[in-house]
């Protein structure tokens, strides 16, 4: 870790004005501090946004839910409103990391945490994502890597919140020196083909100032499942969120997003399409699960993920039928 300067910002404006040169935003600091200790980055200034007022609210308005970027994962997992209406979001927040981390980790930081690829996280490997020539995972240890869109760089996106948020069709508000813009989460994340050195489009002088989740259609339920190697202290090996709008036991519309599957949260479009208009049962769930893996290109060590995804996609769909 290097020496750095520390600034406490009291307002969004103040934070933005400090974000020049080699400065970075610090929210909970969970991911950022790791990156500093791992020697991946050496910023000159940390701009602490934790004390900016008003960025830690959860509010429901006419058009849906607004989540401040400083809302912690712990709060998201316990918030009554979120639990009742946006169940999968609370589940994803509650299953992430550990109780201690959830108390520190913020929603904004969660969306912006950097990938967990071993090679990316080791200073000694100058990989493509760090401006190098190779993706070491492609012929190396790739058991935790992507099974879709993994030709250039095989990272998986690590954020658990992104999975339900994308399934709900959320948007983020980005505020920078040139003003604010609102982007669909689906366009916020970028693939390696678009830009291999980043996971999203946020500019160095921008903050996430709000996350907006649209109002849900009636009779919509959501479910999130995380499969990990252990019960706590770990990112998912595979995770999924299924949001289903139903009439009786017929599915009107399905939104299914996979985490830890690709460099971005991965929409399982074929699975979604296959469920529309169908009765939700073992058979339709199994078919959707199978389709969710269509087109997957597993690497040498991660073929097992297909089986795991199929199992959890199926279970996530069936859980709603039974709930």
């Amino acid at each position: 870790m290097n020496r750095f300067e520390w600034t406490d910002a009291a307002t969004v404006h103040e934070a933005i004005s400090q974000l020049n040169g080699r400065a970075v935003v610090k929210a909970g600091g969970v991911d950022l501090l790791d990156r500093l200790k791992e020697g991946l980055e050496a910023p000159q200034r940390l701009v602490n946004i934790r004390n900016i007022r008003g960025l830690d609210r959860i509010e429901e308005g006419k058009d849906g839910l607004r989540i401040g970027p400083l809302v912690t994962l712990a709060r998201l997992s316990e918030d009554k409103l979120v639990l009742e209406r946006y169940t999968a979001l609370a589940q994803a927040a509650g299953r992430a990391a550990t109780p201690q981390i959830r108390n520190m980790a913020t929603a904004g930081g969660n969306l912006l945490q950097r990938p967990r690829c071993w090679y990316f996280r080791q200073e000694e490997f100058h990989c493509r994502r760090k401006g190098g020539e190779r993706c070491f995972a492609l012929d190396g240890e790739n058991q935790y890597h992507a099974i879709f869109d993994n030709q250039l760089c095989a990272i998986v996106h690590p954020s658990a919140l992104a999975v339900p948020l994308m399934a709900f069709g959320a948007r983020v508000v980005l505020t920078g020196s040139k003003g604010a813009r609102e982007v669909e989460l689906e366009r916020f994340f970028v693939t390696p083909e678009q830009d291999i050195m980043r996971e999203n489009i946020i500019a160095p002088d921008e903050l996430i100032t709000e996350i907006k989740v649209p109002r849900l259609q009636p009779a919509t339920r959501s479910f999130y499942i995380k499969q990990g190697e252990k019960e706590s202290f770990d990112w998912p090996v595979a995770d999924v969120c299924a949001v289903l709008q139903t009439k009786g036991n017929v599915c009107l519309k399905a939104s299914i997003v996979l985490g830890a599957a690709a460099p971005v949260p991965w929409r399982a479009s074929k699975a979604e399409a296959s469920l529309a208009g169908k009765v939700i049962n073992e058979q339709s769930a199994r078919e959707a699960a199978r389709l969710s893996m269509e087109g997957a290109t597993p690497l040498a060590q991660n073929r097992y993920k297909l089986a795991v995804f199929e199992a959890i996609v199926r279970r996530a769909i069936l859980r709603q039928a039974s709930s």
């Binding site: 290097n2 071993w118 190697e229 060590q301 097992y304 089986a307 199992a311």
Partner: protein, 742 residues
């Protein structure tokens, strides 16, 4: 026997300090003018050092730089064989091998400087696995890559094959495992020609470090002082390695003339320090139709890494435990520790036994199946009994009853019921369940004549406050040494628990009571604590200051009076081997251990046939360990060991690439959390051991032995899959399933 402290859950002596954060660990300590030290390590597994280049960006003249040329004495870590240099000179034999040391007052600049040293190393062909090493295509150590080999012979195994009804063979493998103590390795050293060398640090064995520093600096004994500071866990990982890091800090201190602190960060600690030896065991077993063992031939190989370190002793324990608690007339065990170009593997709880016991207890299930008996019935017919002999021809002189332990464990775990119910339910279930067990023993104390050579000494001293202070080099590393010693001494003297103090292990103040390893601290050293305490009392009584019957207050007063009169009161007690222990080091035959702890562990598992997760759902640990001194701590030892064993079996996967551990972070070297550990139900059968303090035997390592085979036996019971390698990851389970059901 009525006791006041033995068998009671006395609170941890240093517990209050620890939970209130007052305990001072090495990184809490700082000294005026102190520098920080860092180690430049080889990125290459084997090669010739051609050049060391220093990036001109760094102000090198501000740094203390130490290379092999700066070593004042001999450049070897003194342990068993002089092969491991403190700093590589011309050759490197493993990645992460220390080549150069740096010190500076500024930690951040130091870090930059470490990155700015470039080692030009001409690579030589490396050997990475024990199989490659065993094949000897490339010789990387000595004449044949073999650090040590043993041959244990009992009866004549060559004659049994012809008459056997069944001959069963199998091969079993275990992987490396990281100790992952909470506190990483760290030391502070002060060293100069006038005062000699003093090192404070996190360690298990101050006198090992002491011995190593004498050679490194070529100084007399009394010029070297080693002090253990509060230590956050060891598990064997701080048995031999502290000699290395202590030497490094001392070399930097010697050259700079300033105190030097070296603390490894987690990544460095995981990549560079020792791990459990990977192993391969081959079994060939002859049995009769009615399930009696006729002969066992065992070939046991461990991967020692690049230098000999403690591999010979790890191998020894693994070898002796390889045939387990069974009565077999003909046994041959051949074993060897071989060299590879990876960082040396070292001591880790169990010390070779978990590896060979894993193999044996998987193999016993296989033999049972071949004979057509249940695992428990087959074992019942072969369990060793009093008067019978182990593989080393040691006559068992205690009334051991393994069958009773089995019954107890089955009762507590509902084994038979579950087995039947699961078999029925598994037919249609996606999540298959199963139960399995392992039966095993673990020898306490050093092997064979080890304790005789150690000649451990413990002292007891009267303090000015009228208390008794125990003087021993055995360290509190979380396992309860301080508390147990205090219980033993208070019991022996009839004093209050608070009247006993335990001195900080400091080679300037405490005698050499041997290392804190091998489940020996309670059984061997505890007994010396008892006799030193009693001899202190004898002195008081001989001097007429203390009557035959006395109160705790009388005792305190007597101590104070004695000190007023004579200045000091210390008595010492030295280990004497019980007369009946007879061991032949040449033939590897005889009484390998003074006592064994005996155990039966039962695991219940579930295996998800869609996600290929295997979970341990319930665990029962039944053991006979002599008298239990502190039931809370003893249960804690068992639970902790079982948890570590579950990690060893299903979670902890050291991933190697080019001879380096590449998942050397806690986010990718996965250990189980409390949420992954089932209820562990611990049960002790108590049969006092005559030579142990209060009847105790050692238990520290025992619980590490049983989890792995019990779990894989349970997975076999759940799925029918015969899996013989750990760690067992979901990917392998998936492949096994697909292979089986394809």
């Amino acid at each position: 026997m009525q006791t006041r402290f033995i068998g009671k859950p006395m609170p941890r002596k240093e517990g209050r300090e620890k939970v209130t954060g007052r305990a001072r660990y090495i990184d809490d300590i700082t000294m005026p003018g102190m520098l920080f030290g860092a180690t430049v390590r080889s990125p290459v597994p084997r090669g010739r050092i051609k050049e060391i280049r220093f990036d001109p960006q760094i102000p090198w003249d501000e740094f203390t730089i130490v290379t092999a040329q700066d070593v004042p004495g001999s450049n070897y870590v003194a342990l068993i064989v002089n092969d491991q240099p403190y700093l590589a000179d011309r050759l490197v034999n493993h990645a992460e091998e220390p080549v150069l040391l740096l010190a500076h007052t500024d930690k951040y600049l130091l870090e930059e400087a470490r990155r700015a040293v470039r080692l030009e190393i001409e690579p030589l062909p490396p050997v990475f696995t024990l199989d490659e090493s065993d094949e000897k295509k490339e010789i990387i150590w000595g004449e044949d890559n073999v650090f040590k080999s043993f041959l244990v012979e009992k009866g004549n195994v060559d004659d049994v094959w012809a008459g056997a009804d069944f001959i069963v063979e199998g091969e079993y493998r275990t992987g490396a495992q990281e100790q992952l103590y909470i506190e990483t390795n760290g030391v502070i050293a002060v060293a100069n020609p006038e005062e000699g060398v003093t090192v404070w640090g996190s360690m298990q064995c101050p006198y090992y470090v002491h011995k190593a520093l004498i050679k490194l600096f070529n100084l007399p004994e009394d010029k070297i002082r080693v002090v253990q500071t509060e230590t956050g866990g060891g598990f064997g990982g701080k048995e031999e390695y502290p000699s290395m890091i202590a030497g490094h800090a001392a070399l930097l201190a010697w050259k700079s003339g300033k105190p030097v602190k070296i603390i490894y960060d987690r990544a460095e600690d995981m990549a560079a320090t020792t791990k459990r030896h990977p192993s391969r065991t081959r079994h060939r077993t002859a049995v009769t139709r009615d399930g009696r063992l006729l002969g066992m031939e065992i070939d046991f190989v461990v991967d020692g890494g690049a230098y000999a370190t403690l591999s010979a002793v790890v191998l020894s324990r693994g070898t002796i435990h390889a045939a387990g608690p069974y009565n077999c007339p003909n046994v041959r065990i051949r074993s060897r520790a071989v060299a590879t170009n990876v960082p040396p593997h070292g001591a880790f709880r169990g010390f070779g036994a978990p590896q060979s016991i894993f193999a044996l207890e998987r193999h016993m299930n296989k033999v049972a199946r071949a004979v057509g008996l249940s695992p428990e019935e087959f074992r019942r017919r072969n369990f060793i009994r009093e008067g019978e002999t182990t593989a080393t021809s040691q006559v068992i002189r205690e009334a051991v009853d393994m069958q009773r332990l089995v019954e107890r464990a089955f009762e507590l775990s509902d084994y038979r019921d579950k087995q039947e119910r699961f078999a029925r339910e598994n037919e249609s279930a996606r999540v298959k369940r199963g139960v399995g067990f392992a039966s095993f023993m673990h020898g306490a104390g050093f092997t064979g004549s080890g304790e005789k050579y150690l000649q451990s000494i413990v002292g007891a001293e009267a303090t000015p406050e009228g208390r008794v202070r125990i003087l021993a080099a055995n360290t509190e590393i979380g396992q309860g040494t301080n508390t147990i010693f205090a219980q033993i001494a208070a019991e022996a003297l009839g004093l209050d628990f608070e009247q006993i103090e335990v001195a900080q292990p400091d080679t300037a103040n405490v005698p050499n009571s041997g290392p804190t390893v091998a489940s020996r601290t309670t059984m061997i050293v505890g007994k010396l604590v008892e006799s030193a305490a009693l001899s202190l009392r004898q002195t008081l009584q001989n001097s007429k200051l203390l009557a035959d019957s006395y109160s705790p207050e009388d005792f305190s007063r007597a101590c104070r009076d004695y000190l007023a009169k004579y200045g000091q009161l210390k008595s010492f007690s030295q280990y004497k081997q019980p007369a009946e222990i007879d061991w032949d080091d040449e033939k590897y035959r005889g009484d390998a251990y003074g006592a064994f702890a005996w155990a039966v562990y039962v695991a219940e598992v579930s295996v998800d046939t869609l996600t290929f997760e295997a979970r341990v759902e319930d665990f029962v640990a039944v053991q006979e360990v002599g008298r239990v001194i502190n039931p809370t701590m003893a249960a804690g030892q068992i639970e902790g060991g079982v948890a570590q064993g579950i990690g060893y079996t299903l979670f902890e996967n050291v991933v190697w690439r080019g001879g380096r551990m590449i998942n050397n972070q806690m986010t990718n070297y996965i250990i189980p959390t409390t949420a992954d550990i089932p209820p562990i139900r611990v049960h002790f059968e108590e049969m006092p051991y005559e030579h142990g303090p209060g009847g105790a035997k050692g238990i520290g390592e025992l619980p590490m032995d049983g989890a792995a085979p019990a779990i894989l036996n349970a997975i076999e019971n759940a799925t029918g899959l015969e899996l013989n390698q750990i760690p067992l990851m979901p990917e392998q389970l998936m492949e096994a399933f697909r292979g089986e059901h394809a």
